[in-house]
């Protein structure tokens, strides 16, 4: 797919509104079925990456999605450059690059084991959307070295039949504003 970018002023405005003050008790989703469904989506996201099934992983994302790794805690993407701020086209490019076989930072490719925990879900502005917070720990083995990446994710999910599509995956690395060594694996 080579769709034109959909990122514009309205996109940034909506993003700011959607990510402002969303982890609120009055929006907490207590329904265990709904919560379990969100948790299942997060597990699938993590497992497909651990298994290196990047094309299947891309299919989890909505046509108009965002893959976002802020460069400092709570930073405004219109005021500061990010570690990653990928629309659908750029996210596909990110995977394409890894698949060329010439992305030396991923030759050999990282092996990862992801733990996703502390899952909490919050209502979005309609029943079709929800926001999910989780804590992650990624153990990475690459080229004989084992490393850790940790932080928390915000998933903005949209109803898709009986399941979900990812509208936004915001990855908040605890060391996002520090010097990162080879952050080329898919987070």
């Amino acid at each position: 797919m080579n769709q034109a970018s959909y990122v514009d002023d309205a996109f940034y405005r909506d993003l700011a509104a959607e990510f402002a003050d969303w982890q609120r008790e009055d929006r907490r989703i207590g329904d265990p079925v709904l919560l379990e469904s969100c948790r299942g989506m997060l597990h699938l996201d993590a497992r497909l990456l651990d298994e290196g099934r990047f094309e299947d992983w891309l299919a989890l994302f909505a046509d108009e999605c965002l893959f976002w790794v802020p460069g400092s805690p709570g930073s405004d993407p219109q005021r500061e450059i990010a570690v990653a701020f990928d629309d659908r086209r750029q996210l596909e490019g990110r995977v394409y690059r890894l698949r060329t076989g010439y992305a030396w930072s991923q030759v050999p490719q990282s092996r990862t084991s992801r733990i996703v925990s502390n899952v909490e879900a919050f209502r979005g502005e309609s029943d079709a959307v929800c926001m999910v917070r989780s804590t992650f720990l990624i153990t990475e083995l690459r080229n004989g070295e084992t490393r850790l990446f940790s932080g928390w994710n915000a998933h903005r999910l949209a109803r898709n039949g009986n399941g979900w599509k990812i509208l936004v995956k915001q990855i908040n690395l605890i060391d996002c504003d520090q010097n990162l060594r080879n952050p080329s694996l898919l987070l």
Binding site: S5, D9, R79, G93, W104, N179
Partner: protein, 450 residues
Amino acid sequence: MNISISSRPVHDWDALVQADRAHRILYTDPAVFQEEMTKVFGAVWVYLGHESQIPKNDDFIAARLGLRPVILLRDSAGSLRALFNRCTHRGSTVCRSASGSAKAFQCPYHGWTFHNSGRLAGVPWPDGYACDFKDDKFNLAQVPRVESYRGFIFGTLNLEMPPLKEYLGEAARPLDDWIDRNPGGRIAVCGANRLKYKGNWKLAYDNSCDGYHVVFSHRSLLEMENRHEKDPNKGMSYYKSKPDDAPMYCRCYGRGHHLKDKRPNVEKRPGALWEIEGAHPGKERYEEKLRARLGAQAARWLDLASSEPINLTIFPNLLILGNHIQVLEPVSVDETDTVWYGTAIVDGPDIPPGVTEDINALRLRTQEGFPSFGEVDDLTNFEEIQKGLAAQEDEWVYMHRGMDIPGRITTDEHGIVTAPATDEVFMRLYIHHWKELMKASPVLAVKRAP
């Protein structure tokens, strides 16, 4: 207070840096690294930060001069200073924030407090001391010479260094070009991509003007950028086929400064630079918006969101690439921090209303591409060099591309050297400058009297 650096050489530098090659221990020996931290990162003008990071009086950022932790600030009277972040009492850092605003710094350990001029303001329970705290020796040490060139702040401990402008020499011209391409000659730092690698800092410097590696090290980026193009010439595609036949060139200005000038590869007309920019988030929407508002005039503004095709390198740690200000910060002989500061244009009377926001909306996103999809591969290759250099019996690193070929490299009447894009002449010139610095016995000083 002056500190004379030992004149006893650590090594026989002439044996280690030869006409066509450098010895592996330049990259692997901790003793060489320690020596560099005074004779290079201390004795020449070292880039510390940009004025847009400390726009107001009392603003500060944490910075490093080699391994010395410094607080780069604009003091309460408006003077630029680089204070050693080291309490005169027992040595603790007095400032532990990466940035902020402060009229004074109080050491968290025993409460000694210093004005942002560096002068000691007071100590707790002074009746327990017999000394005179007005003595300058109790003030924070500071970098004795701090100068700014058009917003770029440098410091040196070497009182014999020529003024900054003279140190930059002819390299100031491409820096002026880079600054003046932005409206009003103004830019502001807007966050950073912060990376590090397990390798010697000179591996990044060796790469700074290297046109030889691009199609190999960055093959995945070139393929990604051009994956949908019918006419695949986006990004750095001018490195494909034979880059030495392209109109770009490498230029060396002396003192280890050099430029890879890729501008001649791009047609000289408004919008030509924007046309080779790869796809990035927001591209079509903001372009449409600007064209609708500005018509044919939009092209020259869109160029400001594109990566400026130069790599300008000011020895030893400042690299201007595209719209980035990249800074090298050595950590140890085999560990280096490399910070890619983003830059935005600054609104002013010569910009049509609203255009600044739209250009920066594009420009922030175009700058995220190379660190994510290009630099990570270079840094991996630097780490793999560091591994390879562990082989002790295989002693030499070659940098002789372009050497001894008649007519290939030219030198003008000012001593400025010009060569084809893939030549390693810039490496040879800077490492020989480095060698002269390592042989020298600079007198380094700190200032105590604000």
